[in-house]
């Protein structure tokens, strides 16, 4: 009985964080790896046309983690989805899903891995 209890404890301790982790993964992204590759290429190459390949800015502003520090991710998502009227920043809603844009914002705020 004691053995069973300790086994249960181990299972609980082990499984709950795993489950939570899986849940958080579900809420933040279930984007396939190949799509993440496409999105990263889009950010670096196509966003990079205006914001710089290294995100240090160009015709558009710099998008390095320090430039985006303290910015509300939801605001950034809205800018990417709907663009900024009166500037060349286009709306990406026809091209990208909201979930994909959330993933891009996290990529930018965390810094694009080299």
């Amino acid at each position: 009985m004691r053995k069973i209890l300790s086994l249960l404890a181990i299972l609980t301790v082990g499984v709950v964080p795993l489950a939570l982790n899986a849940m958080s993964n579900n809420t933040t992204d279930n984007i396939a790896d190949f799509r993440k590759g496409e999105l990263t290429n889009l950010v670096v190459q196509d966003c990079g046309s205006c914001h710089g390949l290294t995100m240090r800015g160009g015709l558009g502003p710099a998008l390095l983690p320090e430039n985006l520090d303290g910015r509300d991710p939801e605001d950034l998502v809205a800018i990417i989805l709907d663009g900024t009227p009166g500037t060349p920043m286009p709306p990406w809603r026809p091209e990208l899903s909201e979930q994909e844009v959330q993933w891009i914002v996290r990529l930018l705020q965390g810094g694009i891995p080299k």
Binding site: V44, G52, L53, T54, G57, G58, L59, P91
Partner: protein, 416 residues
Amino acid sequence: MDRQAVARGHTEMSTSRTNVVQITVWKAVLIVGLMVIAVMTSQKINAAERGTGDMGIVIERAQGTVQIVETTGRSNLSTIEGLGDLSHASAVYSRDGRYAYIFGRDGGLTKIDILTSRIVNRVIQAGNSIGGAISQDGSMVAVSNYEPGGVRVFDSGTLELIADIPAVDADGVSSKVVGLVDAPDQRFVFSLYNSGEIWIADMSDRAVPKITKFTDVGQLPYDGLITGDGRYYLAGLFGEDGLAMLDLWNPEAGVRRVLDGYGRGEEPLPVYKMPHLEGWAKAGELLFLPAVGRHEVLVVDIRSWKEVARIPVYGQPVFVVARPDGRQVWVNFAHPLNDTVQVIDVPDKRVIKELKPGKAVLHMEFTPRGENVWISVRDVGEVQIYDTRTAELIGQLPADKPSGIFFTARANRIGL
């Protein structure tokens, strides 16, 4: 000296056949000597006995490398590394066609020798730059900068700073500078993105640049071009439908609006890549221009500056470039329709051919007399070479995320 060593080796070899060790030694001396001569000879051919008229460079934007290529055998000759952030990089050539000046996004100005394949000099001249031009006499190179906004002019020999021209308007607003070109009489012309101005910098006296400013030319000029005769400067406007035109033969007349309201009040499409005006497309008296946010190429007659046609095309045009003889105009397109190139027949003013080079066609460059066009296809990772008469693919060169292609024929053209 080496020739003597080789000659001596040859004599020894034929006379002392008894000593095997000695023969081996002399054989080694002979081989080394021949190698030294071969290396010396090949260097001599590369550096001095080759013209550059059929040469050029391909920018590999992601790795900060530049390929040196030649268009006769259609091959890569070498690759130069260490040029920094080359997103949106462009280049101009010294008038002898030997040196390329490469303008990087990170503010780097790099002078390379395409004959010996090495970096001659490199300066980081600003925080963030967009392009440049070389003066009429070839003695000065100007760079347009985003951060800090303005133009800096350098000696083309030493890359020493000659003039610093901050792009600050009358209200103290600093602008990013776009559309910088060279113009006759030692002038540079450029546009101020934020404040909507066109400036002429007269550098005929290097020590005292004379600036002429034209204000209120239109909203958000995004790029500029000068016609091949050096007479007309045009700035494309992002903030409104139209272009700002300056006649450099008659600057007193001021800046005039051309193709005003070409969108006729229709809502433009989202623009996922800015059009470029650098490769001007003047075929006879007709100028072919990209419409911003529309699937159209606009055609203007420069005698009247009136629109004579608008040609429906596959996507939003990025580059609209005329073959050197002006018979054809080639067009590539913005994301997400950037896998296609279309060819416009100039007399008929309609699309006659369509090519599918692959995802992310970024740039097109004609050989000097236009029998071939080289096309960079970024996501495929190659430069494709087409016969312009048949539009058939005749060659491919592997390249890492290729963007701009610049041939030395630009050395002798105004505005390129």
